[in-house]
Amino acid sequence: MNFKKILSQLNIPAQCKRYGLPLWQCPSFLFLIMGIIIIASTLIAYAIGTRYIENPEIVALIILILTAILFIIAFIITRSFERLAEASRMKSEFISVVSHQLRSPLSNLRWAIELLMSGRLGKIEERQTEYFKILKENSARMGELVQDLLTVSKIETATLPLKKREISLENLIRELISEFEPFAKASNVEIEFKPQKDLPKVFADPSQIRLVVENLLDNAIRYIKDRGRAEILLEKKGKNLYFEIKDNGVGIPKGDQKYIFQKFFRSENILRYQTQGSGLGLYISKAIVERSGGKIGFKSEENKGSTFWFTLPIK
């Protein structure tokens, strides 16, 4: 922890402001007050007890009163933590409700566009087709964002269903590579897949692991500037399968690396030229891999590329 970080931890009014709480409900402020009272009360009890009072019952009474005060403060601190937890729960619920409400009009919009574009209702001119494509692509983008928000709210409320079964990670990767082929081609990216021979199956939820590989593959292709190469490895390591995807893309600046799995975080160098993306993919991937009993990590160097990896238990 550097000096600046320690200082920011000590700036209690700023911390309370960040949580949107008044001082008397702010955990860090109340904790400080409690600490001061504990030290003061111990010293006072000691001083009074040894110098001025001969009757031990009065000393006991003073200690009792001070203990009661400490109990009240501890109660207030607990309540303020409950308020923070409640605020977090309400935020997740809000995201869930809004996402659900957005899904219906988005489906209506998407299907109406599809019907128009199919030509079933009449021929569309070429110039109109371009605009229909814009409508379609952007409604799809909104749909993906809403889906990501729903997944995040399910992760936070622990309601994301996990239907584990034996799956071939190798086959799943092959399927996804062929799905991503047009996108990779359009981005001038070559995908190379090198699986070890005779790999065992993993025990995981296929739709969720699909989401993880999709996110990592999409990031690798998206963040390769101009042209490049994404290499995927799959091998057995002890009781796990080890997946790795290496790209020669823009990489992650050192200062941003510790935030990369945080919700909504997008690296500064990426924002400069790539505006699309919600900053939720890696947060979701980490949650899924960890819930599946695996680990996830990366190494990266700015302007050289990134390597993301994860493991999944075989049984």
Partner: protein, 123 residues
């Protein structure tokens, strides 16, 4: 005689979209904007297939499904659930109650839904 499809869905925009595409595919579509009307029309018209949303006014989609499958006049009609609800257990619950297929709107294109309808009608 064209096959009839009862669409129980409170979104009139979707009623219109499906009305158009199903007509083009040679089906006759009957609309119900809430669960109560949906149940009445299912008994009266005896459609060949029912497309059912779950979040519905008056009678919830799960209750509609339950009543359809309890009634001997309607229990044989295949029901495709078409919804955006995908909570833990929703899919299993609907399939256990007798739904033929469970489709999450956000995950399917219009053509894919039409294909599922054809499949459920044995075409």
């Amino acid at each position: 005689m064209p096959k009839t499809i009862l669409f129980i869905e409170d979104e009139s925009a979707l009623q219109k979209t499906f009305g158009d595409i199903l007509k083009q595919e040679g089906y006759e579509m009957i609309s119900a904007l809430d669960g109560e009307v949906g149940l009445r029309l299912a008994k009266e018209k005896k459609p060949d297939l029912i497309l059912l949303d779950l979040i519905l006014p008056r009678v919830h989609g799960f209750d509609v499904l339950k009543k359809l499958k309890e009634d001997k006049e309607t229990k044989e009609i295949p029901v495709i659930v078409l919804t955006n609800l995908e909570g833990i257990g929703d899919v299993d619950k609907a399939l256990e109650m007798g739904a033929t297929t469970y489709l999450v709107k956000a995950q399917y294109s219009l053509e894919e839904v039409v294909d599922k309808i054809k499949k459920a009608l044995g075409e």
